[in-house]
């Protein structure tokens, strides 16, 4: 298995803060599968810039509030 991408995210936290939106509902809202949302939340997959913007806009936060860069 490869090294996880150095991009962190608060997607799970943002979902929970927004009425406990389900992973499936988030996936449908941004045009990806539930498995892809799971992969993003677990840090196994870095979303495209478009999907990252869609997630941030959906939760009404800035891109850097939803995603970060891990220096480790």
């Amino acid at each position: 298995m490869g090294t996880p991408p150095p991009i962190t995210n608060r997607v799970r936290e943002l979902r929970e803060q927004n009425g406990g939106m389900s992973q499936a509902a988030l996936g449908e809202a941004i045009g990806v599968t539930r498995q892809t949302v799971i992969a993003i939340e677990q840090g196994r997959y870095s979303p495209s810039l478009e999907s990252a913007f869609r997630i941030a806009r959906l939760f009404g936060v800035g891109l850097e509030d939803a995603f970060g860069w891990s220096e480790d």
């Binding site: 298995m1 490869g2 045009g31 990806v32 599968t33 539930r34 498995q35 892809t36 799971i38 992969a39 196994r44 997959y45 979303p47 495209s48 999907s51």
Partner: protein, 139 residues
Amino acid sequence: MSFREKSAWVMAALMTAAGLYYLNLVVGTSRDLGTVAPPIGIFIAYTVLVVIGSIVAQIVLAVSSPAEAQARADERERPILHRAGSRAGVVLGFGTVTALLFFLVHADGNLLFHMVLGSLIVSQIAEYALQIVLLRRSA
């Protein structure tokens, strides 16, 4: 398990079963594959089995998950499907070149047919297996 992974499992199982069925029929026809003329009847039976089996399997999967079946591969799945297809192409290419080299040495067209068809079957199984591995690795 995602729809793509379910589909890959079903197709891998189908291709493996159909491949073994074909191999069993060919071996049953003769102990020496290299001396058997390409069995047209068996080849047609194999093709029909794969086509009908694929259609039935995809219909069953689509009925069980209609929403997922209609959705196109997303941004994570697309490169995975592409990578699996690309690597399966290498398997097919390797098998075909090997078959051609055998043909150059042995001048046996029947063996060439069996080896190319075998490479095609193995490459298809490899493609679905790679899809499963790569989908699981990033999910």
